[in-house]
């Protein structure tokens, strides 16, 4: 009796805890998904139905014209083009520069390397507000305001978070690879481009996805530097429309859906890299 009781009880425990955890997880998921569902639902409703109480999940009349009209009213494609310009250039620059810097901090042994790296990590604690004003003045004096330049150019010079992420990945690659290549007469640059970069693809993909997400979603940077509607990204353009036409929920939700959708697609494509990138910086920190 006593021998069988243990496992039986723990199996019951297990079913019980599975049911309990599923219940809580489903409840959490509903809360987490609710804003997306409501955004899409509102985007398809005619104005008369939007303010209807009690709220209804499915519109009585599906109004897809909200999408066409909102895209025109908000100048969606103009802003989209600016956002793409910003995202694409910045993302490529970030991957290239951070790969190079992280290589210098992980695969080359030089005196003082770890002390300098500690410095890189320390800069992550610096509030952006401290550098914001002098940088704005600096870029204004260069004549870069309003334009995308102040948002794009700094990406060519690395970012502490990405350097950290890539270094965490690169230090796990076996040192014998480099040594073997060195004996074969491969230069440091050759080892970087021909051996380490191909192996670092998953981590580079994480950087690519994070930077894409960051530039697509960034609001404060474009708000400060893009003061001309011609240069607006989707973030600022949409926010501007929101402050001027705050009650046009059908249009706003349609534009919001179009704005969010690409990132959701990107997440489904790169889910593994996103998750690995986050855990790489979170755990061994």
């Amino acid at each position: 009796m006593t021998l069988t009781r243990g496992p039986v009880r723990s199996r019951q425990d297990r079913t019980l805890s599975a049911v309990a955890s599923h219940t809580v997880l489903i409840a959490l998921s509903i809360v987490f998904m609710m804003p997306f569902v409501w955004m899409v639902s509102s985007s398809l409703k005619p104005n008369a139905e939007i303010f209807l109480m009690p709220p209804r999940l499915f519109p009585e009349e599906w109004r897809f014209a909200n999408y066409i009209e909102s895209v025109q009213a908000i100048n969606f494609f103009g802003y989209l083009l600016n956002t793409l310009k910003y995202s694409v250039v910045t993302t490529i620059a970030a991957v290239a520069s951070n790969a190079m810097i992280a290589y210098g901090f992980s695969r080359v042994r030089w005196p003082g390397r770890d002390a300098v790296f500690f410095f890189v990590i320390a800069t992550m604690m610096l509030p952006g507000a401290v550098t914001m004003i002098p940088l704005f003045v600096f870029f204004s004096q260069l004549g870069w305001v309003p334009s995308l330049k102040p948002l794009v150019i700094p990406a060519f010079f690395g970012n502490a978070y990405f350097i950290f992420l890539l270094r965490q990945f690169l230090i796990t690659l076996p040192q014998e690879l480099d040594d073997a290549a060195r004996i074969d007469g491969c230069s440091e640059w050759g080892i970087f481009t021909r051996i380490v970069l191909p192996l670092a693809k998953p981590a580079l993909m994480s950087v690519f996805l994070f930077e894409l997400l960051w530039t697509w979603n960034n609001f404060m940077g474009p708000l400060i530097y893009l003061r001309d509607p011609k240069t607006f990204t989707l973030s600022v353009g949409l926010q501007m429309y929101f402050t001027q036409h705050g009650a046009e929920w059908g249009y706003l939700m349609a534009a919001g859906t179009l704005f969010t959708l690409p990132m959701i697609v990107v997440f489904f494509i790169g889910q593994r890299q996103f998750i690995e990138g986050i855990t790489l910086t979170g755990i061994k920190g």
Binding site: L25, L28, S42, M100, M125, P127, G158, F219, L238
Partner: protein, 317 residues
């Protein structure tokens, strides 16, 4: 040393090339040069986008810098004196920000660990749940903020509409000074799925033999959570709490878009006020002083957390 004395016996040009040769081929120096070469983008960026602006904002904080004319007159401590003694909004902003950060960090930490713990129980459909918790992170701040303003609309919003169907009169959420700050905290917790992933990875890092041993000793799930998972998760908690602290003390986009600091300045957070002083009032000297105060506050709080962490973070694995 030996190579130096060797070089002295050679002719002048030979000596020079020998020296150069020594310089280039000495593995230590060569590695140093390669290392500096690879990190050179960071060095330039660090000087141009960090060192220069840090010193610049420190200097501006002692001036009445005018961005329209690019002119700065030295005013000494006047900006600091103003924000600490005359500016009532500054003090309100500080207290709003501290309350916001404290509420956000405590609620998010509990919710995120709970979610990560549930996800770690090897339930079916883990990737579906994980995706759902992470989607808010992927949502552009502007789209999320607009949607939440709509959902939390006191009269026509989804939440109060649903509550009304249950016969409950919902709170005014973002529309009242009493509930607005808390509403912003809830939205921020909704978007904190990044920390869930980090906690989840931390939990999965815990060796399973510890749980097996505990199970043999008759520990129930609660015991396992209390005595194994939580203590071994404390280093990850420290990382997440520090990250959240730095992030929430500078919170800008959410409050700026959803409330603009209102109603009645109840959600005027430090980041929003600083932006207003710098880019709307164009008082860049005062704003620089505010930025430096924030810097010192972040630094002191982080040091405090690290100091206190020696008491609750469990490092021995």
């Amino acid at each position: 040393m030996a190579s130096d004395s060797q070089a002295q016996r050679l002719s002048r040009p030979q000596r020079l090339t020998a020296r150069l040769h020594i310089r280039v081929t000495s593995p230590k120096t060569r590695n140093l040069l390669w290392g500096l070469f690879f990190i050179s983008p960071w060095i330039i960026g660090f000087l141009a986008f960090m060192v220069y602006p840090i010193l610049g904002s420190l200097y501006y904080s002692f001036t009445n810098f005018n961005v329209l004319r690019f002119e700065a007159d030295w005013v000494g401590l006047a900006n600091y004196r103003e924000i600490f003694t005359q500016d009532r909004l500054f003090r309100l902003t500080l207290s709003n920000t501290f309350r916001y950060a404290a509420m956000f960090i405590s609620i998010a930490t509990i919710m995120d660990i709970l979610a990560a713990f549930l996800l770690s129980l090897r339930v079916k459909g883990l990737s579906v749940y994980r995706t759902m918790l992470f989607l808010p992170v992927m949502t552009p701040a502007v789209a999320a903020a607009m949607t939440w303003v709509w959902i939390l609309n006191p009269k026509h919003g989804l939440v109060n509409g649903a509550l009304a169907m249950l016969g409950i009169q919902g709170p005014p959420w973002l529309a009242s000074p009493r509930t607005a700050l808390f509403s912003l905290v809830l939205v921020a917790v909704w978007a904190s799925g990044r920390a869930v992933l980090i906690y989840l990875a931390g939990i999965q890092d815990i060796p399973s033999h510890l749980y097996e041993a505990a199970e043999i000793d008759g520990a129930n799930p609660w015991h396992r959570m209390r005595h194994i998972t939580l203590p071994l998760l404390t280093p990850v908690m420290l990382f997440n709490v520090v990250t959240m602290l730095i992030f929430s003390l500078q919170e800008f986009s959410g409050p700026f878009i959803m409330t603009g600091g209102g109603p009645n300045n109840s959600t005027l957070l430090y980041g929003v006020y600083l932006y207003r002083r710098a880019f709307m009032d164009l008082e860049m000297g005062v704003a620089s002083a505010m930025a430096w105060v924030l810097f010192v506050v972040v630094l002191l709080l982080t040091l405090l957390i690290f100091r206190l962490s020696q008491r609750w973070v469990f490092y021995d694995r």
